[in-house]
């Protein structure tokens, strides 16, 4: 814990004495006087570590363009945060790694080989507009990385939705292709039905990530490993991810049963798109999701429902980002609805 307080202690300016011996010797604060040692930085660090397997795999899959995307995104996020704090002269949260995490998450939401300016614009919106203009960490309402992504999606749809590189190590023979969700959508538009049957091989491909997509959404298994790591470290709780994924599966399943020709298999919906990335790493973001367990479940279900509705009926093939962002807006409301009950039944006020 190298950043612990230096021996000089905090400054009590009146004590920088001229001649007499200092009067203030001891630190005085309210109890408790000891701390577990955790910092914002350590929490953010754990999330970044949990994202590493998926990030590294994306580099393996998409090659240098993926590495480029990640590096530029992380650097620009950290840069914007630093710049902002310089400009408004607000000390404090720089160095808490939250901007690095935002940059990484945004990178994982971008197609490999995104041009540098696209990444910069995305991070500008994520860090400055979605986070700092709301007051910085702790005060933002919307998930910064997702705001960045959605801004890009709306402003530069071509770059965001049709320039997918198909996986091939080191990206040497990159060809433009479509994501599985995109393909399903095109098929639906062209023929009026999706080829719904998810073959065993396709399912395995989706699981390990052998498919086109944005960097972080490709490998379900590695994302799951990261998620389980965070659960084990008690950085996140299971409520939101389970509710999210479960409700996507259930919703898609109902539609599939109703009309298998038009609506794809629920497993297809669960395994495609950014669902795992969203469920484990963005629907669990501290600042923008509800605090109480019950609230987290409601939040997850809401995300799932919106995701499926957009995927099936909306004009975008993917709905995870919209789902989470929409539910972010409801977070304060959900928080108010689910107050934990105090230990011990409330007694009628007699005094």
């Amino acid at each position: 814990m190298e950043e612990r307080l230096p021996d000089a202690g905090p400054k009590a300016p009146g004590t920088k004495e001229k001649t007499e011996e200092p009067i203030a010797r001891f630190l005085v604060s309210s109890s408790p006087h000891v701390h577990e040692g955790i910092r914002i930085r350590s929490v953010m660090g754990l999330v970044i570590v949990a994202l590493l397997p998926a990030s590294v795999f994306s580099i393996y899959l998409f090659g240098l363009p993926a590495l480029f995307t990640i590096l530029v995104s992380v650097a620009s996020a950290a840069g914007f945060e630093w710049l902002w704090q310089k400009v408004v002269r607000r000390p404090g949260t720089a160095g808490d790694l939250s901007a690095v995490l935002t940059g990484l998450l945004l990178a994982l939401n971008l197609p490999a080989g995104s041009p540098w300016w696209l990444i910069l614009v995305g991070n500008l919106f994520a860090i400055v507009v979605a986070k700092q203009l709301y007051g910085g960490i702790g005060y933002n309402i919307f998930n910064p990385a997702l705001v960045g992504r959605v801004v890009l999606l709306v402003a530069f749809p071509v770059h965001m939705t049709s320039r997918w590189i198909s996986p091939s190590a080191w990206g040497m023979d990159a060809v433009t292709t479509a994501t599985p969700l995109g393909r399903a959508r095109e098929a639906l538009l062209a023929t009026g039905s999706v080829d719904a049957a998810l073959t065993r091989n396709e399912a395995i491909d989706l699981l390990i990530g052998n498919r086109a997509g944005s960097l972080g959404e490709v490998s379900v298994i590695l994302l799951l490993i990261g998620g389980i790591f965070l659960l084990a470290k008690r950085v996140i709780t299971w409520h939101a991810p389970v509710a999210f994924i479960g409700s996507v599966w259930a919703m898609a399943g109902i539609f599939h049963l109703a009309n298998p020709a038009r609506f794809a298999d629920p497993s297809f919906h669960v395994l495609t798109g950014g669902l795992f990335l969203g469920a484990f790493f963005m629907a669990t973001d501290y600042v923008t999701t509800p605090l109480a367990p019950a609230g987290k479940i409601v939040f997850g279900i809401g995300c799932g429902v919106v995701t499926v509705v957009i995927r099936l009926f909306g004009s975008y093939p993917e709905g995870v980002s919209f789902g989470i962002l929409l539910m972010n807006a409801f977070t304060p409301l959900i928080d108010r609805a689910f107050k934990p009950a105090v230990f011990g039944a409330r007694r009628a006020k007699t005094a």
Partner: protein, 280 residues
């Protein structure tokens, strides 16, 4: 996308329509005087009158449950227009006041007895042994007063003392109530000489804690005209009448007594302001 925007706008339209209906259904008949009075009040909702907002005060004034000059912020002109609305005579109030901090113990002059680490708020700091200043009466310097001032009249100096801008201060009394050490008081802006200390400790103790505290040497009492300054429990206190002449500041060995510019710099102006106060 377009469909979504249309749908959302439609929703907003329906909602606002609904709200309007509700507002109408639940509207309460208001005394027209209340609205008029509310219009005359400053509308800052500062709470200085002790009520939650200007409309509440307006209602009380209209019902005769509060005086026409109950708004401490509005001053005379507001009081006069309200008295016109109410149709009562208004006698005219006292001189304009401003808040002043009765402590000069900043980071260079006052010593601290421990390293405080906690909520950056004076009232919270005061929960721990009354604060970290060695002087138990002094300003804690965390700016609670600046935080509660609805008019932005208080700024913390670099050395950790609040500086009140008399031109912005409306004497709303909020800082006076918020200060846990009770060292902010309202004083007439016409008064020039102030004793900037609140410590009732004995001289020796004061000297140890602060280089600008009142040590109760009584030099000022002797220098000032009869009755202008009295010693109260080891502290020199100005009575207000007669005024303390500027010359008294010079005799204070601790530089506790100072000529403070409250916006009325020359004595002639002060006389003018006083006259104006008397005329109304």
């Amino acid at each position: 996308m377009v469909a979504a925007i249309i749908a959302l706008s439609a929703l907003a339209l329906v909602a606002s329509f609904g709200l309007a209906m509700v507002a109408r259904a639940f509207a309460v008949p208001v005394d027209p005087k209340v609205e008029e009075i509310e219009g005359a009040l400053p509308g800052a909702n500062c709470g200085g009158c002790g009520l939650p907002g200007c409309s509440e005060l307006a209602r009380r004034i209209a019902e005769g449950r509060a005086d026409v000059d109950a708004c401490p912020v509005g001053g005379e002109s507001v009081a006069r227009s309200i008295s016109r609305i109410m149709g009562v005579a208004f006698a005219g109030g006292g001189a304009r006041k401003t808040a002043l901090v009765f402590c000069a113990g900043d980071d260079e002059t006052a010593r601290r007895r421990f390293y405080y680490n906690g909520v950056k708020d004076c009232a919270s700091a005061a929960l721990l042994f009354g604060g970290d200043k060695l002087c138990g009466y002094g300003c804690l310097g965390l700016g609670t007063c600046a935080g509660v001032c609805p008019f932005g009249a208080i700024e913390m100096s670099a050395l950790g003392l609040p500086v009140i801008d008399p031109s912005k201060c409306t004497a709303c009394n909020k800082c006076v109530l918020a200060c846990p050490k009770k060292i902010i008081k309202l004083v007439p802006v016409s008064r020039r000489v102030h004793i900037l200390c609140s410590s009732h400790d004995k001289g020796a103790k004061v000297r140890k804690a602060c280089s600008v505290g009142c040590i109760a040497c009584t030099k000022c009492v002797k220098e000032a005209p009869e009755g202008a300054i009295a010693m109260q429990d080891n502290l020199a206190v100005a009575s207000g009448v007669p005024e303390i002449p500027d010359s008294v500041a010079a005799v204070c060995p601790m530089n506790t007594i100072r000529v403070v510019d409250l916006g009325i710099s020359a004595p002639a102006d002060a006389a003018g302001a006083a006259a104006e106060g008397a005329a109304s």
